[in-house]
Amino acid sequence: MATKTQTLGVNAPATSLSNEEILRYSRHLIMPEVGMEGQLKLKNAKVLLIGTGGLGAPLGLYLAAAGVGKLGLVDFDVVDFTNLQRQVTFGTSDVGKHKSEAARARLSNLNPDIEVLSFETQLTSANALELFKDFDIIVDGTDNFPTRYLVNDACILLGKPNVYGSIFRFEGQATVFGMPDGPCYRCLYPEPPPPGLVPSCAEGGVLGVLPGIVGSIQAMETIKLILGAGDSLAGRLLLFDALGMKFRELKLRKNPDCPMCGKNPTIHQLIDYYEFCGVRGEEAPAPDLQVPEMTPRELKMHLDRGDDLYILDVREPHEYQICNIKGHLLPLGELPRRVHELDSSREIVAHCRSGKRSAEAVDFLRKAGFRKIHNLKGGILAWSDEVDPSVPKY
């Protein structure tokens, strides 16, 4: 069911555009659907972006270019080289800078007529309501479940729309939550998946263009909300499959029993979202499995001594192609059915990229009766840092 978008915000303080602004926005102004009235709505709109990464990049660029008068950017992270493949707000010279500040500089350069505020902080239950209250629309471009539930709940408590987008590898989802009479995130997903049942992004990866497409859809929905134009995605979940290049649409209903936005809500304030999500969204580290470890230097010493060691690489074949330390490749997912290929009488050192998947492998093998097995602490990343810098990190 498509919901007509409603005009948001109060009477516009700005009532005219400068000549420079008229020139800048001329392709909007000559469209009857935007026109001077719409452009003034954009100028008076206040939008808060949660996350300035993959989704936040097209969001920030397009909303700034379109003339959204006040843009807030919330991110506590720092730009690194692996971000540049998809976070197109940033350039190589931004590596090492705070994302919110680097994005603020980029967007201010793109459009000096708007106000861009950077909030170099992690969104928490303690600061969310205070941060949100000065904005009309909140756009969720985060990457973890705790923050997504936090954004949702804060939006419902304050009665603000939440323009939602999320991605995984080549698949995306987008909708608008928190509209009057519309569903919220909890109506769709009452509970987060337990950690471990959803592959993390590090295992999953993401095709660089995908956040560009999904973030652009969020930007379009945000602009429609501001203009009060068209049919909003509220009440509809847009699913995008980039490989099949297919868009599908599912109906989203407001759940009358929703604990947040239902008839008798039971949640009246923000909660501890890390606890709610079993501590660990995708971003937070999984609880450390207590397994025997070996450091990269210890492994090097054993190898130099010529000790009989079997190196078990539990990553995926395409990761092995990026770099390897001549281990025997047996991906974690195949371990249960291929466990007979391993010799439990030999010393085994398991490794992956960072040590997390191989800890699971060691835990599994110990339960299967293997005793002479260690996890390479810190994985191939630590091997590169501590033993052989010629091994590339990814």
């Binding site: 992270d77 471009g141 999320s166 698949e171 998946p193 959803v198 992004c201 979940l237 599912l250």
Partner: protein, 95 residues
């Protein structure tokens, strides 16, 4: 009678990397049961140990959420599409 079950990206690794499967079924529950018989590793991602559909797994028949129909007992007809819609959270740093 066969329905097509659409397997989302995060679960394809447990389903022979397939994006969909055609399963003979009379109900949505049978379609999911048929799918997990074909791909046993999928089972724990969709069902709890006592065989209930996990609460964070959304299942749609065509464009309608089965929670607002007869849930797993919702009847299906030839050519229907059953979608499994998982929560995905990625979007920012994607580390």
């Amino acid at each position: 009678m066969a329905v097509r079950v659409i397997i989302p990206t995060p679960l394809r690794v447990y389903a022979g990397k397939k994006d969909s499967a055609d399963v003979p079924a009379q109900t949505v529950g049978e379609a999911l049961g048929g799918l997990t018989t074909q791909y046993a590793e999928l089972r724990k991602h969709l069902f709890t140990d006592d065989g209930k559909l996990r609460s964070f797994v959304n299942v749609y028949l065509n464009d309608e959420d089965i929670r607002y129909m007869a849930k797993e007992a919702t009847p299906v007809k030839d050519g229907d599409v059953v979608s499994i819609v998982p929560s995905i959270a990625g979007g920012n740093s994607g580390k």
